[in-house]
Symmetry: C2
Subunit: 212 residues, 2 copies
DNA sequence: GTGCGATGTATCGGTCCGATACATCGCGGC
DNA sequence: GCCGCGATGTATCGGACCGATACATCGCAC
């Protein structure tokens, strides 16, 4: 999952680790907490070893002045390669079971602007199916095992059930939107946000802006 | 987290691994997918090594008949020890930062019936604070970086923001409930569920049923 | 009588996290 | 002048947890 996210971000611009983490946090903030360096750096190394990204160290021109001590560890800028772009396209198009769990779906969704419509639809429907299953599981527990559970556990289930129902509705709207027409904007429900009155969503036709 | 959940469940009744997993899934189904055996069994072993639980193998009386082949691996029933109960009480009362993330909060909440009111309040408020921070982060992104993001990413943030606002409201109600009176039941919003019209929530006074 | 789904225990490789360490840079306060 | 301090920046280590996999038993439907 991290691999996909990094490849996707580096496709927009070359970046160094710290920057990458900030962008990742901004893009995925809705679905997960900030990514840890303990995952980020090893993954970068892995991607580099596989040849999906390359490293372009920022040596400040006059480097041979300071031989060994202090060692001047400049920022390391990472850049996606042609193979990396292929890899990203492959990862974004193929949908395994992990594509539909909370994190996997979130990451895929965050890169929907670079995903073709058929895949978008497939992923949205897969996610809906998964949430519907979770919802049914919760309903079963609530209907069949309610007397075995204490009031707090019950309230937790009720809250979870409501969240499932809400997400299914959200997905329904997105799917309907996707099928006929474009633009992911779900009709304003008056509630959250406040801003974005007329922010006309530019038709996100497939994946414009292929080259940097 | 798994450690806490296992200790909590075993406090209600001795169980073997498979059963434990099912109960875990029923109790925590609202917050996370089914727990993996790849986590469960190693954790059981760890708890056993620490002395929090003991193993009571179900050897069917006539065991010496079959010496080595087929080896008859009966179900292994786990039982919590006195030290384990202490450990549980300690874990449930102390709240580190991990207590407020999605999984940690869910597990703690699921055992609120065995938690004293002061701790319940502390955890609910900590959780609220954390969600409020996440909410502010999302609002910032939406307000300040909206034009940098594509329509799909924006919609993801909007959905996440709404979920945050909803959870804060839920927590507010629980906190208010907790402060004055008892019973975690949030006033019915007509939506989800359908059942539970008059299911009078039995006053879950602190932790009744201490001994099995 | 035989296959097949539920029950049941267990391991292995891999992903990701949290804590920790350490170095540089700009800026405000004394 | 210089000192601390928060932001920037790279990096590792141990541990928690997952997904795939393997294997064995039991009951029952066909």
């Amino acid at each position: 999952m991290l691999e996909l996210a990094i490849l996707g971000l580096l496709q927009e611009a070359p970046m160094h680790g710290y920057e990458l983490r900030k962008e990742l946090t901004a893009k995925l903030g809705a679905i997960r907490a900030a990514i840890s360096y303990g995952s980020l750096y090893p993954t970068l190394r892995r991607l580099q070893a596989a040849g999906w990204i390359t490293e372009a160290a920022e040596t400040p021109a006059t480097a041979e002045e300071v031989p060994a001590l202090t060692s001047r560890r400049g920022r390391v800028v990472y850049k996606i390669t042609a193979e990396g772009k292929e890899r990203f396209a492959q990862l974004i198009a193929q949908a395994g079971p992990e594509t539909y769990d909370d994190t996997g779906f979130g990451v895929h969704f965050a890169f929907f602007a670079r995903t073709d419509q058929a895949t978008r639809l497939r992923i949205l429907e897969g996610r809906r199916r998964k949430i519907e299953e979770r919802r049914e599981g919760l309903r079963d527990v609530l209907a069949r095992a309610a007397e075995r559970l204490d009031a707090y556990t019950l309230e937790l289930q009720r809250h979870g059930l409501e969240a499932c129902e809400r997400e299914v509705r959200w997905l329904e709207e997105l799917i309907a939107n996707e099928r006929s027409g474009r633009a992911p904007t779900v009709p304003q429900r008056g509630t959250a946000g406040g801003r974005r009155e007329e922010t006309s969503p530019p038709p996100p036709g497939e994946s414009r802006k292929e080259r940097p």
